[in-house]
Symmetry: C2
Subunit: 130 residues, 2 copies
């Protein structure tokens, strides 16, 4: 499979797992290593798979089930590493919010394929939107 | 030079250029290409070197000269790509703020060495700090 397409598919699996609150699918996507980092909007950075996994466990217990509309997604493959920049548009009771996001993947041997090693999301302040 | 040390040095050049408001040094550090992305805290993502360069020009004109205390910096090299996760601790008139940051670099031929392709910073909400 073309690498850019495979990376985009891995990126989509992240959001599918999140919307479905599927901890197994989220676990399959992430590399289980100390080098992974995850920054949820407004959170301190979580380092290593243990704290990252725990954060999704907590988020998936939350009252609000999130739905993502993804825009401006661009994947760049550089050897066995790739990054995806995109906007997560979240619809909620209080109106919408846009989360500017950067995801990093590394190519692993099959069957895992591209695995997530970094996720960083931050809310775009309405006054600073383009 | 060991790649991890070279990446850490490139990362440090980013903050040196920022503190010195040195647009030439910042320009030398970044890859000048359409694939670069930059998300300043609370901002929408800027895509491509033109908008990214303009943002530093604007920031460097601002009244407040920033000073960064960097903590928790960890560099990971994966082939010709590397990412650095760190906390930027900013001291200001109104007390301190921590910016969770993810920087990505790609290896280029000398003399440029490692060049920045992504910068993403987001303010850590005090209630969500570790």
């Amino acid at each position: 499979m073309d690498a850019t397409i495979a990376v985009a598919a891995a990126n989509q699996r992240y959001y599918d797992a999140f919307e479905a609150r599927d901890l197994d699918a989220m676990s399959d996507l992430w590399e289980h290593s100390p080098r992974v980092v995850c920054t949820h909007p407004g959170w301190a950075t979580l380092r290593g798979w243990g704290p990252v996994a725990a954060s999704y466990f907590t988020l998936f217990q939350g009252a609000q089930q999130l739905q993502f509309v993804l825009t401006e997604a661009r994947s760049v493959v550089a050897g066995d590493t790739a990054w995806v920049s995109l906007d997560e548009n979240l619809l909620g009771d209080q109106g919408g919010v846009t989360v500017a996001t950067l995801n990093i993947f590394v190519r692993d041997d099959e069957p895992n394929g591209w695995q997530m090693v970094c996720h960083h999301g931050s809310v775009v302040h309405p006054a600073l939107a383009e």
